[in-house]
């Protein structure tokens, strides 16, 4: 069920991105899209009554584990998402310096 919620979240973020006319709202939609994608990636690797992939001693390696690879991918993707979001916010700040507003419609009037 959470897998479908994640896909709907991803699509919802895309919808928000296509329709919102406010820069900050667009960045928020981008973040929602990425959160949905990350939950979907983790749900791909989930195994019922599996255990987190942490092995404290060699004897434990016989257990049923969750898939560790999607977790490594999401770990990388989260940090990349932060990089893009921080840059987008920096652009939003410099756009606000220039146009004194975040809404695209008001900016077009000023052009």
């Amino acid at each position: 069920m959470i897998q479908y919620a994640a896909i709907i979240l991803f699509v919802f973020g895309l919808y928000g991105l296509l329709t919102q006319r406010n820069i900050i709202k667009m960045i928020i939609s981008l973040n929602i899209m990425e959160i949905g994608l990350f939950i979907f990636i983790i749900s791909i690797g989930f195994v019922y009554d599996g255990v987190a992939p942490i092995i404290s001693s060699v004897s434990e390696t016989g257990l049923l584990f969750v898939d560790p690879l999607p977790q490594a991918l999401v770990l990388t993707a989260i940090v990349i998402g932060v990089g893009t979001t921080a840059l987008a916010l920096a652009f939003a700040k410099s756009i606000h310096n220039k146009y004194q507003t975040f809404s695209l419609d008001e900016m077009e009037e000023q052009l």
């Binding site: 959470i2 989930f46 560790p68 770990l75 990388t76 940090v79 990089g83 920096a90």
Partner: protein, 236 residues
């Protein structure tokens, strides 16, 4: 009108995704995944775990098997911090005078909490290969500790020059360790330090060293980004 098109496009994509995934034979049901027919099965295999020597398999993947991804990821943060500094670079920076003034509670509270956050972040970084966490959350925790100092005192400016140097040195050391792997061993980023026994602090060869460098680098980068966001040009 634009909202309608946006709604249609995203609805269409959503329906396409859900229908295809629901009807495709090789897309596994939620939770019923057989790890062994995936590459991940190898990572959890006994002798592979011992060969890499890191208790936390995810760390073994992030820094060991797919260390090149992590090098790329550290570059993403590096270029974002560089870009943000570039965007705000033309004016001499002074602290943004925000409306809210830090009151007494915030000042004293943050001094106490600052030490705790730092210690936990160092713990997370150094135990990255044993317990969950690692260089990235640890680094961001260091940055949030410094963020707390920014909030507690509105005249506080951290030592930006020092962070730039730390960032450059940590990044270069990461690549140099990779090149050492190429020179000493035969592959880039190869683990040329003996791995030691699983579960000990000083095990898993270069993995804790790389995670420590990543922690320092991420911490200094994000503090730089925070400083850029909390200052503004002199003339503004």
């Amino acid at each position: 009108m634009k909202n309608l098109i946006g709604l249609l496009v995203s609805l269409l994509l959503g329906v396409l995704i859900i229908l295809t995934l629901a009807s495709s034979p090789s897309f596994p049901e939620f939770g019923s995944v057989d790890i062994n027919d995936r590459v991940a099965g190898e990572y959890l295999d006994n002798d592979n775990v011992e060969e890499v020597g890191s208790g936390n398999i995810v760390t073994a993947i992030v820094v060991g098997y797919r260390g090149f991804d992590t090098l790329g990821e550290v570059t993403v943060l590096f270029i974002s911090a560089l870009g943000i500094a570039l965007i705000f670079s033309d004016k001499k920076q002074k602290r943004l005078d925000l409306k809210f003034k830090p009151n007494f509670m915030l000042k004293t509270g943050s001094r106490i909490v600052f030490g705790i956050i730092l210690i936990t972040s160092l713990y997370i970084i150094f135990h990255g290969h044993l317990t969950p966490g690692g260089g990235f959350p640890g680094g961001v925790m260091i940055a949030s500790a410094i963020l707390l100092l920014y909030l507690a005192d509105d005249k506080f400016r951290s030592n930006i020059k020092g962070f730039k140097v730390l960032e450059g040195v940590a990044g270069s050391l990461f690549v140099i360790i990779g090149l050492l792997g190429l020179v000493i061993g035969t592959y880039f980023l190869e683990n040329f330090i003996p791995v030691g026994s699983l579960g000990e602090l000083l095990s898993a060869g270069i993995i804790p060293i790389i995670y420590m460098l990543i922690g320092l680098k991420v911490g200094s980068e994000i503090s730089g980004i925070v400083d850029n966001f909390l200052t503004e040009g002199e003339s503004a």
